[in-house]
Symmetry: C2
Subunit: 203 residues, 2 copies
């Protein structure tokens, strides 16, 4: 099949990335061989290597998609009108984490992405971008809370954003390792800890 359309090429790329992700989630990144990816994609070695010049490149292409859905969902949540109370935001975010970390969810790759980032500068760049994006969404949401008067005007929204962001990886880890932490339980935990002013918002 020579001289194929530009979109065909793009579709092939995605086909390979998706196949690789399925393998990575099922077996783990390092336990997945290129042969596994060839089989899952229904392509030959030559075909795959036409689009990616190494396994690492396929990994990188996947890493950047791990938290894509997560971020999109959170972005909506943080800009919801009317402003959602903190415990509601956290619970819905946690529910999304549960959803995306289930059987074939991409979030199952998150710990592997973090681990790879520690030793691979290239991947670290992608992971850092993702973390930064999610944190900034937290910061934006906190700014709204401050602006609405539910937190003091001099609140360090960046520090608070980083702090609340931290809850999400921690929730994910507990889900993956023990599976005994529900979004509703997290909401109760947050409610028990936080200022009443943050939980009671105007109708």
């Amino acid at each position: 099949m020579p001289r194929v359309s530009e979109e065909h090429l793009e579709r092939r790329r995605r086909q390979i990335v998706d196949a690789a992700r399925a393998c990575f989630i099922r077996k783990g990144v390092h336990a997945t061989s290129m042969q596994d990816i060839f089989a899952e994609a229904g392509l030959s070695a030559g075909a795959v290597y036409r689009y990616f010049k190494s396994k690492n490149e396929i990994i990188e292409a996947n890493i950047s998609t791990v938290v894509g859905d997560m971020h999109a969902f959170f972005d909506e949540l943080s800009h919801a009108d009317p402003l959602l109370p903190l415990d509601e935001v956290i619970e819905q975010l946690a529910a999304k984490v549960v959803d995306l970390s289930g059987e074939n969810g991409p979030l199952r790759l998150a710990p592997e992405a973090w681990a790879l980032a520690v030793h691979d500068p290239e991947i670290a760049t992608y992971v850092a971008a993702n973390v930064t994006a999610l944190r900034e969404t937290w910061t934006a949401y906190m700014s709204r809370l401050v602006q609405a008067g539910f937190l003091p005007a001099d609140t360090d929204v960046v520090a608070v954003g980083k702090t609340l962001f931290a809850v999400v990886p921690g929730f994910l880890v507990q889900r993956l390792v023990l599976g005994d932490f529900s979004p509703e339980e997290l909401r109760r935990g947050v409610r028990a800890l936080t200022r009443e002013s943050m939980l009671t918002l105007p109708t």
Copy 2:
């Protein structure tokens, strides 16, 4: 050296585990070959395989030591007399995380441990045990806060414990990936969020 003392054997085991950990932290678990471990330990292949029957066994032996120091430190902190306020506990815990996740710190292996646990049931057992132990320390600390009257008597200490535990992996991930989150900043984040009653404890 035949017929050597029991403690010599134990020391050899630790020598191998320590050498492996140094390699794992430096290069990553999967990028570390057995040859790397042989060289680091100053032993031959045969010697190492006398004490561990596979690379996986060496990995497992390391995993269980990743959060050992962390837990010991937190245990002291949670039982300190007089009772420490929440933000103080969190800041000190975060400071310990910074310490143990530096250059050659064992916490650099934590994400790899989580990732391995997702696909390896044996390792999952070790990681689950560690997570459970740390969470229970949080629960114990929260119980003290409730008992001292700084949280309502009907507080769900388990839910709150899980919630606060979640902050630690999240802090670690941000340290490892971006390195722009300090214990003092986390403390400010927590202070801005939590009930005043939890922060003002008796002298």
